[in-house]
């Protein structure tokens, strides 16, 4: 089961037949296992990793450090829930250390992200403070380096 995850993590476009061959299992077995992993919420989606800089599309990403006042009984979960439901929020993590939540926000422009922070995020009752950092360049995302690999143009190696 873990090996299926390892395979899909690297390439979610492989089909059940191909994965089955790689694992020495039947395609049915693989299909069932994947279905089970989806049902259990282990596999939560199949995304495509895109380097938007290569496409002419305005896009800014910001990492926002948020300090919040935890609520009785609910801790941080309630306020996190209020925050991550916004579609602008791409990721939201509870942190140890000097602040409480990391919120990754994407928008079309700095202005749009700024207004999200000012109008949506900061006014939430338990949010004490925010500190917004804009991403200038993405070198690597989700384990993948964006820079194009150099072509292998070695002369013949004979062995």
């Amino acid at each position: 089961m873990e090996e299926i995850l390892e395979i899909l993590k690297n390439n979610s476009r492989l089909n059940c037949e191909e994965i089955a061959v790689m694992l020495g299992k039947s395609a049915e077995e693989v299909k069932d296992t994947i279905k089970k992993l989806e049902d259990e919420g282990v596999i939560v989606g199949y995304n495509t990793l895109i380097n938007w800089e290569k496409v002419n599309r305005e896009m800014v990403t910001a990492l926002i450090e948020v300090k919040v006042a935890p609520q009785r009984d609910k801790g941080f979960d309630k306020v996190a829930d209020r925050i991550y439901r916004f579609p602008e929020v791409k990721a939201c993590y509870l942190m140890s250390g000097g602040f409480d939540l990391t919120v990754i926000v994407e928008g079309k422009s700095i202005k749009q992200v700024a207004s999200f922070v000012a109008e949506k995020l900061a006014p939430i009752e338990s949010v004490l403070s925010t500190s917004t950092h804009f991403v200038l360049k993405k070198y690597k995302d989700d384990g993948v380096v964006f820079e194009k690999k150099e072509k292998d143009d070695r002369e013949a190696i004979v062995l």
Partner: protein
């Protein structure tokens, strides 16, 4: 003066590589998929590269001791013990070389007197025969057979041994067949060799790439320990081909003689690569395991691909090669490779490059991405079906 007349006849008579011409063709092709070069497609793990860079930053740009950095030899000793149950004294019994290839060359040069016989099972890595011939040895070839899963059998070995036999080369896991020797297979060989004055050169460069069961080194048998030289290196398991670090472990007497040649010819293995190798042994075993798991999946994909293409394909359990039989296509190994490259732009290597008994087989490596393998197997299937219908 005619330079050609000045050359050593031994060197002149060495056959040129049988695969060179394909590489030249390949270089001019677009969209070709090469399954031909026996090296990992993975780049060396970053922590190892970083250790190499750091060593340069620290100014470790001088020679190391001839035998290699003692820290590295210590790590190799620990690794050989932990992984294979082999104990060697890092001071006397381990030599760091420029790739495992140098170790093969040194061992043969240290042992051979012209006329000595060297037993070489084939198909196998081309360097054994080449290096043996340079020493004036007489290569005695054992033809490994598909019906024996390309394993070395005690019977074949027994038959090949004569009074002149000095060395037996044991090349498993094997390039190009992917065959391995199980404990039982090795035991049969031990029975044949234990009472004979014959040195074993056990080339275990692919030991980590064993996909079923454990790699068994012949040197783990007490009666074989002293007369076996184990050769290994970083190229395959740690994806470090270009760093050129290998090593030999064996009897102090043999290691000492090899060291003599090494210090005249080479001095020492590259120092910064040795520092990188220390990092590899200390902190990269997880990467090795990750790569082995990945190779294993690709292996199954490729074997399945050849079988679905209708070719007989014995299941390789080691290294990163598949060695399918292409006799049913009616083509020779050479024709198969040339036509496959021209018609479908996939390069595999003719089995004959690894010995005459490789005729009727080709070698393909799965040290290539899953996407490449899937695409290459599609093309090979199309190719085989087309030619088989022409053949019948």
């Amino acid at each position: 003066m005619n330079m050609n007349d000045m050359l050593s006849p031994t060197v002149k008579n060495m056959p040129p590589s049988g695969i060179r011409k394909y590489f030249d063709l390949l270089n001019e092709m677009k969209d070709a998929i090469s399954l031909s070069v026996g090296e990992p497609d993975f780049v060396t793990p970053w922590n190892i590269r970083e250790a190499g860079i750091f060593s340069l930053e620290k100014g470790q740009t001088h020679y190391s001791s001839n035998a290699g950095l003692i820290e590295l030899r210590n790590e190799i000793a620990k690794y050989m013990d932990n992984r294979f149950g082999l104990k060697y004294d890092p001071k006397e019994e381990i030599l760091v070389t420029v790739g495992a290839s140098e170790a093969i060359d040194l061992a043969l040069r240290a042992l051979i007197v012209p006329g000595d016989e060297v037993i070489i099972p084939e198909p196998s890595f081309v360097a054994y025969k080449g290096c043996a011939m340079l020493t004036g040895a007489v290569p005695v070839i054992i033809e490994l057979k598909a019906e024996d899963q390309f394993r070395l059998t005690p019977e074949a070995l027994e038959k090949a041994i004569t009074e002149k036999t000095k060395v037996v080369i044991i090349p498993f896991p094997n390039n190009p067949t992917g065959a391995i020797m199980t404990r039982k297979d090795i035991e049969g060989i031990v029975e044949v060799l234990k009472d004979k004055d014959v040195v074993v050169i056990s080339d275990e460069i692919y030991a980590e790439l064993t996909y079923e069961g454990e790699h068994v080194s012949i040197a783990t048998y007490p009666e074989m320990k002293e007369k076996t030289l184990v050769i290994n290196g970083f190229s395959k398991a740690f994806a470090m081909t270009g760093w050129r670090i290998g090593y030999a472990c064996g009897h102090s007497c043999l290691i000492d003689s090899m060291k003599k040649i090494h210090q005249y010819a080479i001095m020492c293995a590259p120092t910064n690569a040795q520092h990188a190798a220390i990092e590899a042994l200390r902190n990269s075993y997880d990467d090795v395991c990750m790569m082995v798991r990945e190779y294993n999946r690709r292996r199954k994909l490729m074997v399945d691909g050849f079988r679905k293409a209708g070719l007989d394909c014995f299941e390789p359990l080691g290294a990163f090669y598949v060695f399918p039989c292409i006799k049913s296509t009616g083509m020779s190994s050479d024709q198969f490779c040339e036509k496959l490259l021209m018609e479908e732009k996939v390069l595999v290597v003719p089995g004959t490059a690894f010995g005459d008994c490789g005729a009727g087989f080709v070698r393909a490596t799965y040290a290539s991405s899953v996407e490449n393998i899937i695409e290459a197997m599609k093309r090979i299937k199309r190719f085989v079906e087309k030619h088989r219908s022409l053949h019948i």
